[in-house]
Amino acid sequence: MNEIFAGLIEAVRLIAGGDSELFEIIALSLRVSGIALLISTASGAPIGVALGLTRTRAHGLITALLYTGMGLPPVVVGLFVYLMLSRSGPLGWLGWLFTPNAMIVAQTIIAWPLVTGLTMTAVRAVDPALRVQVRALGATMLQELWAVVCEARIGVVAAIVAAFGGIISEVGAVMLVGGNIAGKTRVLTTAIVLNTRQGEFTLAIALGIILLALTFAANVVLLRLQGNR
């Protein structure tokens, strides 16, 4: 138990002391997860909207696939990305294994089904009457689409929040494909594992508290954008 209180104090001390290594780790965590989230959102949200608005025969299958994707074990994603990006793998020429790019790829694969699937669900939950109503008011196709997407925004932001929470706190994939290289690919979660492995529980707890605080802050920002004050 003492470790937890000591960890709390250590967390404050690290932040206040402006530990440059810590800020490097935090910056990399945010950068990797932020870019992965951006790619997933930019590519997944429009597809989620499209899937939410259309009804095809393959719909049940697509939904099942997306929902399965939401449950992908990160370590399996990591293993897959590892084998793809390894020098002996098909994408080895990129030289991305053990770099932040590999971590971004892995986290994008983890976040994409979350963003896409939850956006689809949110759009599908919009009252179909809205579209009829907007169209009756003389809206163009684009304006109609815009109205539906805006109506679903709470769900879309929830999708982004869920995906962010999923990848910033993920360790299995980034450990495998990043290699936890000091100053290069070490993020908060892998630093926590490393310190735990070395018995540095106080520091591990401190990093855990910082990670929690960071996730909380990110969620507050996203939710504020959504308009839930």
Binding site: E21, E24, A27, L28, L30, R31, G34, I35, L37, L38, I39, T41, A42, S43, P46, S86, R87, S88, G89, G92, G95, L97, F98, T99, P100, N101, I104, V134, A139, L142, Q143, L145, W146, A147, V149, C150, R153, V157, I160, G179, N180, I181, A182, G183, K184, T196, R197, Q198, G199, V221, L222, L225, Q226, G227
Partner: protein
């Protein structure tokens, strides 16, 4: 830090956040004028430095966890004017990283696996890099009465006979391979069915923490044990003495090798830099730094120069 910082640009996420904010603001203002805005996918480029000036080492956890590499590498970075990265995993995994061509140099301690790596034609060079030794640690109460036994083989026999808890790395690391070697001298292959045998599948630090918690015996490299001793109040060295000189079992010597990859098998390997690294590592000056590392903190070295290995029992 042994690496040059290159990642400190949160610009892309901030930009994404801004786009998201614009969209949501557009929504709340109730304006359906603009066409749907799609965030532009970023390039995701990480401005990786040119591959030719980055040396990547795959190594066992003990060289990293003990702090040795962080103490040594800045000097090499200075003389070579390059960047050095290391990935610290078990020796088995490190050799696998090499087998796939994902590192330039291996610093490992798993002789049988290394010999196979060389025999498979994957290595260009392999040298003795340094050494230390393994010790058997266990609970101070010593339920199997192994304290004072001369060899690990006798000690494992006693632990097995007593059915006392034993924590194994179980991860095909160099330490795990050494442990299996000692079991083999007893014609024993420990299996998960044995209630006292715990194959953890974890690193040295985790295994020692487990042994401390569960009052179990474990085979550990002396360096990692010494580095973590303060966190392991329940454990003590029972076989292997207080320094390698006191270790009476020649089977417990722990040799680290430094291996470079064969460029003909791995065209992308950074072989120039790898050769320079090996030359630097084996140079007298670096070997003296290795011998000096840990003296101040532990009163004895954690690793010994390769050349003095012959002096071992």
């Amino acid at each position: 830090m042994n690496t040059i910082r290159t990642y400190s640009r949160p610009i892309v996420p901030v930009l994404g956040l801004a786009l998201l904010a614009i969209w949501l603001a557009g929504c709340t203002a109730g304006q359906a004028l603009a066409s749907p805005r799609l965030a532009v996918a970023p390039t995701g480029s990480a401005s990786a430095a040119a591959a030719s000036d980055v040396l990547r080492i795959a190594t066992t956890t003990s060289t990293a966890d003990s702090g040795l590499l962080d103490a040594l590498l800045p000097h090499f970075v200075e003389v070579c004017g390059c960047q050095v990265e290391y990935i610290a995993v078990g020796s088995g995994q490190a050799i696998e990283v090499g087998r796939r061509g994902d590192a330039d140099v291996l610093l490992v301690h798993s002789p049988a696996a290394e010999e196979k790596f060389v025999a498979d034609g994957l290595a260009r060079t392999r040298f003795d890099a340094m050494f230390n030794d393994f010790v058997l640690v266990g609970p101070r109460a010593d339920p199997a009465h192994i304290a004072g036994l001369g060899t690990a083989s006798e000690a494992l026999q006693a632990i097995m006979t007593a059915g006392a808890a034993f924590a194994s790395r179980g991860d095909r690391s160099g330490t795990h391979m050494k442990e299996l070697e000692v079991w083999a001298t007893l014609a024993v292959t420990p299996t998960r069915e044995l209630p006292w045998y715990h194959a953890l599948g974890q690193g040295m630090g985790d295994t020692l923490l487990f042994a401390d918690e569960q009052r179990a015996y474990a085979l550990a490299d002396r360096g990692t044990y010494l580095a973590m001793r303060a966190k392991l109040p329940g454990l003590t060295i029972l076989v292997g003495g207080n320094s390698p000189a006191e270790n009476r079992d020649p089977a417990l010597i722990n040799r680290y090798s430094i291996i470079t990859l064969a460029p003909e098998r791995f065209p992308s390997t950074n072989d120039d830099l790898a050769e320079r690294f090996v030359a630097w590592f084996l140079a007298e000056e670096t070997q003296q730094r290795i011998a000096a590392f840990g003296m101040a903190k532990f009163g004895q070295p954690l690793f010994y120069p390769a050349r003095s290995a012959e002096a071992m029992p």
